[in-house]
């Protein structure tokens, strides 16, 4: 039996310097809205750009720790977990991110 070859499809979305620390940017992939973040400790996160509460644009929120606060009603989303910070409840999809030669790449599910 041969192992199925599954690979993450990485998509380049811009240079690292276009994203200062503690900031978010919106990225569009087809119909998908993805929010990309660089936190104060220089880690990158990508989550669905829709707050689970009322669909607010998370990419415009204030970034603190590994969280972002949605600009519409102050829900706090844990970027690593892709979850609203309790007691709020809700999930957002997360995407893997990496930097290759100063270029940010988002992983979008498996390649065919």
């Amino acid at each position: 039996m041969t192992a199925a070859v599954l690979a993450i499809r990485w998509v380049a979305v811009g240079r690292l310097e276009a994203l200062p620390p503690r900031r978010g940017r919106a990225v569009r992939v087809g119909d998908r809205r993805i929010a990309l973040f660089r936190t104060g400790d220089d880690r990158l996160f990508a989550v669905e750009d829709r707050c689970p509460h009322r669909g607010g644009p998370l990419s415009e929120g204030i970034v603190h720790g590994h969280c972002v606060t949605c600009p519409l009603h102050d829900w706090v989303i844990d970027l690593a977990e892709g979850r609203a910070v309790p007691p709020d409840e809700g999930r957002v999809r997360t995407y893997p991110v990496r930097v290759v030669d100063g270029r940010i790449e988002i992983g979008l599910g498996t390649a065919p």
Binding site: V29, R54, I62, V76
Partner: protein
């Protein structure tokens, strides 16, 4: 490497809070051993009264289960009493024969109920009211019915009496003095309370000294010194509590009434701390939960080796937790030392007494209607000058034009479905359930769990009143100022003073120096710090866009669908056909879906997509517009009427002054939004008396009004002064705004700021001190020279239009 061992003796509410806080600050610092005498994990002692009354079950008030301790590596000796401390060898002996060494030791032994040294005190059926075992005994006795005698007419005794009566017992309360709850109530309130409780069937025997409890094996009756005897099947001794200091005394620690501790809660042995009801701080022992939690917080901070907090004592307030009785008391309630203001309506069962001294509240007694308790208490704690409120003070906050509170003005008597927080649609029932089911104690916790008062904050007082209502005698606001946010223990004023004193020039510097608890703050503190730094160092500080709310970063107002609204500045609300034409063209060019005239006499273009913002600004800038700052904590608009130029009643040129005022002030960042108005005659068509700063023309010049608010809480302005010329109005405006920028708290509108500091203080700084006023105005103008750059032009010219687009658009 082995970690130091921390031993905690006692597992009451304070010890529990201490552990929680300590593990949050320093999860791995200690190996922790916890002795708990009761055979239960931690529980909420406050809720014993509802348990006694049968309103809740014991399992509902447990706040931890055994797994909680195990998961955190705490060695929990449940049901084991510590019997001896060997300070020389640093050992704690347990009743089960165990011996545990310590490096640091915390005594949280709480208190014991006082048992009167009278014959019969050991009889079966004589109980105290302190822990779960006591409640179980009382409930078992009540199940048999019969007569209960409660000795002690204080807070605890009355709660026990009400609970037993609810369980069907016939209850008599015996009190030594002629006044119930003499530590909290004056004569009138005590009498009203007694009458209400008598109306519910409780019986009172006042001024009776108990001589003995009668009975062979079980209690049968109570005898008094005057010779009278009454029958009893259950006797509850609720004559007070005494700090539990036995272990400490036997170990040779210095004790007076309680275990004597310093401001860091340290005993005379530097390896031993004491916290909660067992300790005595600056001569006082506390029995209410809020000051004790404050102690726990300080001690956690010390044990975590941060050493940034000290405990400096607390002011306490009391509320009786008997369903249907509303009573609030704080401070010097007898008022021997001050001047009482009294409102007494026996028919309605309402009594309010405030004791004033030097125009400040020093004592509060409320009976029958306590909804304003937390407000008065805040005024008392803040030391607010109430001379200007004096005429209406007794009628409460609702009487001060507080229409925002109107639907929910009587918190205790409200139905469960009454809405408390209008912003987030939170009802009373939701909040009460969250408090009781989740064991919430603080305003922040209620905010996190329910969102009540988490938005505009106008219902904060109601939520605090609800907390007080649900938790009875055990909730108070923490003493002193609230911390800026949960990331820090410091309040805004301390932070601002430290920034200036220590020359801190950036957000990371401030966070480092003041030992922020989070790596880079939160959405509350970062914008505040950004503002503080901007005001402190107007020349050097570089604005941090990452610490700005989206609106102030993109200079537009985010809408519910993620689009933005754009409001160009129209100085004084006076426009021209050319301006209107330019606006119309822009609206059409960018297919702006909605064009709306705002309340501040400006034109709002709504529904603009973010990527169009730089283009719209470029076009608006070309037509001569600047940003209207309708999105920020900034000077918004100056509303005017047409004034003497056209109006047959106008006595001064209000439009010219309005335009000059807006030209002077636009671009200034302020602690919260600032709206202004200029009216050309006392008819006041510009509604200047509900603005933050308003000028109203009179024949001889201008009246200057400040501190109005037309928003959540309608408040009319107060008259600051009268001046002769428009130039003077401008100077006052500049000085007023600068003082507000320098001393107002972030997020605090001028109305609240002025209520906090008092109009007299404002007059002293601005009217009676012309030199100070001119200096403030000069500082404002200096800051304005830098601030009055149109952000739209800058953004449009810097042309980072791509910053306003998605970073990438990739096909699927």
């Amino acid at each position: 490497m082995s970690r130091p061992r921390l031993v905690v003796i006692g597992n009451g509410m304070v010890a529990d809070r201490l552990l929680e806080e300590l593990l949050r600050l320093a999860p791995d610092l200690y190996d922790i051993v916890l002795f708990g005498e009761e055979p239960w994990p931690a529980y909420n002692r406050i809720l014993l009264s509802p348990v006694l009354a049968g309103e809740q079950e014991i399992t509902e008030i447990l706040t931890r289960d055994d797994a909680w301790y195990a998961e955190r590596g705490i060695d929990f000796r449940k049901g084991v009493r510590a019997t001896r401390i060997d300070r020389a060898r640093r050992l704690v002996h347990g009743a089960d024969g165990s011996v545990v060494p310590y490096d640091r030791l915390v005594l949280a032994t709480g208190s014991r109920p006082v048992v009167l040294p009278i014959p019969g005190r050991d009889l079966e059926g004589v109980v105290t009211f302190r822990d779960i075992a006591d409640v179980e005994r009382m409930r078992a006795a009540a199940a048999r019915g019969g007569r209960a005698v409660v000795i002690g007419g204080g807070l605890l005794g009355l709660e026990a009496a009400a609970g037993l009566q609810r369980l069907g017992m016939e209850v008599t309360v015996v009190h030594l003095l002629d006044r119930l709850m003499e530590q909290q109530l004056d004569d009138i309130a005590a009498r009203m309370l007694r009458e209400d409780l008598e109306g519910r069937g409780l019986r009172f025997l006042m001024e009776r000294r108990t001589r003995a409890i009668l009975g062979e094996r079980r209690v049968e009756g109570v005898a008094f010194e005057d010779g009278e005897t009454i029958p009893a099947d259950l006797v509850v001794m609720a004559v007070g509590i005494r700090p539990e200091t036995t272990l400490a005394r036997e170990a040779g620690l210095h004790c007076e009434r309680g275990i004597v501790v310093s401001d860091t809660l340290q005993t005379y042995d530097p390896r031993i701390w004491a916290v909660g009801e067992c300790c005595q701080h600056r001569g006082r022992c506390y029995g209410l939960v809020a000051p004790l939690f404050e102690q726990a917080r300080v001690l956690a901070n010390q044990l975590a080796e941060l050493a940034t907090l000290r405990y400096e004592g607390s002011v306490t307030a009391t509320k009786l937790k008997v369903t249907g009785i509303d009573l609030f008391s704080a401070g010097d309630h007898l008022g021997r030392d001050g001047e009482p203001l009294v409102l007494h309506d026996p028919g309605a069962g309402v009594y309010r007494k405030l004791v004033l001294k030097d125009d400040r509240i020093i004592g509060i007694v409320l009976y029958g209607d306590t909804v304003d308790g937390s407000w008065y208490f805040q005024l008392m704690q803040d030391g607010t000058d109430v001379s200007s409120l004096r005429e209406t003070l007794l009628f409460g906050q609702v009487r001060l034009g507080d229409s925002g509170h109107d639907p929910v003005a009587r918190v205790a008597g409200l139905p469960d479905d009454a809405e408390i927080c209008g912003c987030n649609g939170v009802c009373k029932g939701t909040i009460v359930r969250a408090i009781t089911e989740k064991g919430l104690f603080t305003l922040d916790e209620v905010r996190a769990h329910t969102k009540a008062s988490a938005s505009c904050g106008s219902c904060t007082g109601l939520v605090e009143a609800l907390l007080a209502h649900v938790m009875g005698g055990h909730y108070e606001r923490p003493r002193g100022e609230r911390p800026l946010c949960p990331c820090t223990d410091y309040d805004q004023d301390t932070i601002r003073r430290t920034i200036v004193r220590e020359g801190l020039k950036s957000i990371p510097e401030v966070m480092h120096f003041l030992e922020w608890k989070t790596p880079d703050g939160c959405r509350v503190c970062r914008p505040a710090l950004n503002f503080f730094l901007m005001v402190a160092w107007p020349e050097e500080y570089r604005d941090d866009p990452a610490s700005r709310f989206v609106n102030e970063r993109v200079h537009a107002n985010i809408q519910k669908d993620g689009t933005y609204s754009v409001v160009p500045r129209i100085f004084g609300g006076v426009t021209t056909p050319a301006q209107l034409r330019a606006l119309a063209e822009v609206a059409e060019r960018y297919r702006v879906p909605t064009v709306k005239i705002t309340g501040g006499q400006r034109i709002d273009l709504l529904g603009v997509r973010k990527e169009d913002l730089p283009h719209i600004w470029r076009d608006l800038t070309a037509a001569g517009f600047v940003s209207g700052h309708a999105y920020g904590k900034a000077v918004r608009t100056v509303k005017t009427c047409v004034g003497s130029e056209w109006c047959r009643f106008g006595v001064q040129d209000s439009t010219s002054l309005g335009i000059a005022l807006e030209k002077l002030c636009w671009g200034a960042w302020t602690p919260a939004k600032v709206k202004m108005g200029v009216s050309g005659c006392p008819r006041n068509c510009a509604e200047a008396t509900i603005k933050d700063f308003g000028a109203v023309a009179v024949e001889s010049g201008w009246e200057i009004h400040v501190g109005g608010n037309g928003g959540v809480k309608v408040r009319t302005t107060e008259l600051l002064t009268k001046v002769a010329t428009a130039e003077e109005v401008l100077e006052y405006a500049a000085a007023f705004l600068q003082l507000y920028r320098e001393e107002g708290r972030y997020g605090e509108r001028t109305a609240f700021w002025i209520e906090r500091i008092g109009l007299d203080e404002l007059k002293r700084r601005l009217v009676e001190d012309p030199e100070g006023r001119r200096a403030l105005a000069a500082r404002f103008r200096e800051a304005q020279a830098r601030a009055q750059r149109d952000p739209w032009r800058e953004l449009a010219e810097r042309a980072p239009a791509e910053e306003f687009r998605a970073l990438a658009e990739v096909p699927a």
